[in-house]
Point group: C2
Chain length 234, copies 2
Amino acid sequence: MKFEVPKTKKLYEQIATIIEQKITLGEISPGDKLDSVEQLAKNFEVGRSAIREALTALQARGIIEIRQGEGTYIRKVTAQDISLNIPTYASFSQQDLQQIFEVRKILELGLIENAAKRRSGRQLEQLKEALSKMNDALIDPKASSNADMQFHAVIAEAADNPLLVSMLQSVSKPIARQIQHTRSILSTTDHAALYNLHEEHTAIYNALVNADDIQAKKAMAKHLETVESLLFNQ
Amino acid sequence: MKFEVPKTKKLYEQIATIIEQKITLGEISPGDKLDSVEQLAKNFEVGRSAIREALTALQARGIIEIRQGEGTYIRKVTAQDISLNIPTYASFSQQDLQQIFEVRKILELGLIENAAKRRSGRQLEQLKEALSKMNDALIDPKASSNADMQFHAVIAEAADNPLLVSMLQSVSKPIARQIQHTRSILSTTDHAALYNLHEEHTAIYNALVNADDIQAKKAMAKHLETVESLLFNQ
DNA sequence: TTTCTTAAGTCATCAGATGACCTGTTGACT
DNA sequence: AGTCAACAGGTCATCTGATGACTTAAGAAA
């Protein structure tokens, strides 16, 4: 037997919800200043602490901004503010990682298409730079891993969609450590695999130079498959 | 002349940061119980309110869980917990919406491929149901819009990646109102366009029935293009 | 006019008091 | 032995008065 427990029992959660709704309903709008903590406490007929905790929570979620000595304001949310919230400490299961990697794969494939069409000359240079860094540091797991991430980051940037950049970075982080670990193994056991990775990056780079989105997508798909098998099949 | 201002001046923010770091560094691990508020106040040599506000903020971000009468615990974060944080009230610019839509397009295209391969019989039924709902309510902007979202949601589910589901839902929300609005215009001015939308959904459905991922992707791409032009070219 | 001082408004933080809630223990009752 | 009510200890939830810090703007001084 199982009963429903009251969802938001805590006062400050209720208050946070109410304030959020007031924003959603348009009673108060982004940019507006909220009443002072004291005033809110009177309006809601609760103590100041309940108000403060509600506001602190809303601030942590990026919904409002509390400025000491000034007041509390509703934040204006733009696409820039949208991002994944992935605690860095999170320890994911193998299955979680595969899900995350699948998302990354999808983002990266959709992305490379845009990147091939929109990449600038400067970005091609940055890619080239990351490529040679990767080559120079082939057997340095940390440096080459960084260059690897840089390579992918530039591609994201070339796609000219900040939201995509931020999302891709978020889903890449949890796998970054894994990748570095894998690279560090390869660096002592399988130089051929490392060289292969570099070849694949070069193929992607060449496709981008030619602004060939079909080819770029193909090359990226192949690369991601390689990475995936290296990551999950050991 | 400009000086660096201390990034986290507020006490409770500093404390939140420290606690977060302790988790990242492994000093305390997911599942662990934190010291009591009083104890933490003594350890940090601050008042209880600073501690409580720090904890409230961390809880709002999903990092810890505060249980009345019991204590405070570090949450175990899995892929399920990863999600986009998009306030429902956010008023996005046309440009923002296009960025968001592009992400949606990428996710949905990557998704449909998986869905075509993994869809179950039950999901095909749900799709069929959503389809006929859409057909029945062609000129009811609200109902058909709901059926539309349901259709896409089932596809997300069929792709068998909860993380994808949650991410797609997040990026779909901000555009949902727009879509509903567009549908409501079409319902009074352009029944042919509505019928066309339904045709496209049917094409997607058929491809899914045949487990033809190439065709499904093509159909979805066409559909999304239609939606995009309806949304942004008026 | 420009600069300095001051006052008002507001957030930041502390600390004492109380209530609400959870868990485990104890002991009576079945 | 099993069940359960009552109790105690620990902890979160909330209120409140006090004080400090910070921002803004009005008014005084240069």
